[in-house]
Symmetry: C2
Subunit: 242 residues, 2 copies
């Protein structure tokens, strides 16, 4: 039996100053001195796709920034119904100072690398560093905006609109290639994960994907990629204005 090396804590030897999320993560506003203080207490951790990062209610020993990959936050009802309540992309922050546990599960959707800070020293640092507090607030407010858009989607959009909105969101924030007249998007989630994200069943997700395909708005054959053939029609199908 082979141990998956990705699940083991890994200490990478790269400097904060060369970090890919240096200017967007919690450390964005920090100056060189402040960065050094963070550097002293950071460590890296990796998780492979599908692995659980943290269970609801589990003691939260560290807080972290996502460096690479995608993690999902989800909540579950007692009978097993599950709803994703957030996606953590690179530079997003996990955990909050002053709270010892979180109210949802965190799972690695793709392989994930986290930049971790032990909670206690981090909290102390936050109290002494307005730049950190300020950035944490900005990140929380951005997440709040995203959460509110998602509430509109969950409460009022049709299945077709949900799927169109989802694909449009991918098109906006996932790095994408342009192939002739269509945008190629990597799709790291299964139908089941997408369903949990959109408040649907996996069958409905599959049907709506294929409906958009039949309408010539998107195309796919591979499981890992989808092509957006008509971005205007996609937007029109999302139900959003402008």
């Amino acid at each position: 039996m082979q141990i998956n090396i990705m699940t083991l804590p890994i200490l990478r030897d790269f400097k904060c100053s060369h970090c890919p999320i240096r200017h967007r993560a919690v450390c964005a506003h920090c100056d060189t001195d402040e960065l050094q203080l963070l550097e002293n207490i950071k460590s890296y951790r990796s998780f492979s796709a599908g692995e659980s990062i943290l269970w609801r209610g589990e003691p939260l020993d560290y807080v972290a920034s996502v460096v690479t990959g995608v993690a999902a936050l989800s909540k579950t009802l007692e009978d097993g119904r599950t709803q994703m309540v957030g996606l953590l992309l690179p530079s997003d922050f996990m955990g909050r100072p002053g709270r010892k546990q979180i109210a949802f599960d965190v799972t690695a959707t793709t392989d994930v690398t986290l930049c971790c800070f032990d909670r206690k020293p981090f909290e102390k640092l936050v109290n002494d560093t307005p730049h950190l507090t300020q950035r944490l607030m900005e990140l929380a407010l951005d997440e709040l905006d995203a959460a509110r858009d998602w509430m509109l989607l969950l409460g009022r959009k049709t299945a077709r609109e949900k799927i169109a909105t989802f694909i449009e969101m991918l098109a906006r924030r996932v790095h994408m290639e342009k192939d002739q007249d269509s945008l190629i998007l990597p799709l790291s989630m299964t139908r089941d994960q997408i369903a949990n994200f959109l408040g649907l069943t996996l069958e409905t997700v599959s049907r709506q994907f294929n409906a958009l395909k039949k309408d010539g708005i998107i195309d796919f054959s591979d499981r890992k990629f989808i092509a957006v053939k008509n971005i205007e029609a996609l937007h029109a199908a999302s139900g959003d204005d402008s």
Copy 2:
């Protein structure tokens, strides 16, 4: 024609130190000196029930704390479907430093009194006052937690569970009287507002309210109050665990 006096800006002459939300609002962590700085730039504004406080995209000249009453945040799709995305109760904060407009409408659900700060001086004060930034962050994170619970409700709960969850939430945080064996809750929202809050139609809200009444879990005759007869059964109907 009579001008509604509640719609006019009113300057109340009470000190921050005697404010009913002194220990929960954005100023919670402020010391006496910091409080004085806030006092210098604050002013009160009142809105009567149903009145719009701020439209989406409108320039945001001030930020504010809710002192009394309830305000609702809502988003609307182009064809008119609307979804409430938050409720502002006393001590909740409206607006965010660094952003000149907001992405949703704010409406007074009941008569509302706001403690307003002009945006520019407030932002300056925030930059110089870690206590304020810290509290703003806490408030944002609390709202984020609430938003995530709401996403689970909107995405995965049945109509009956939504109504039960809603009533249970009222029971927890609205000041309530105990009348014999039942809790009396003031109900300030119409069926339509509740529907927009829960992602339902007003007819479904009405039907589920009456279903819970027929089951002996709640009771009502007056439009303004409901009585919870069986709090355990109500909780069981909410779908939440524990």
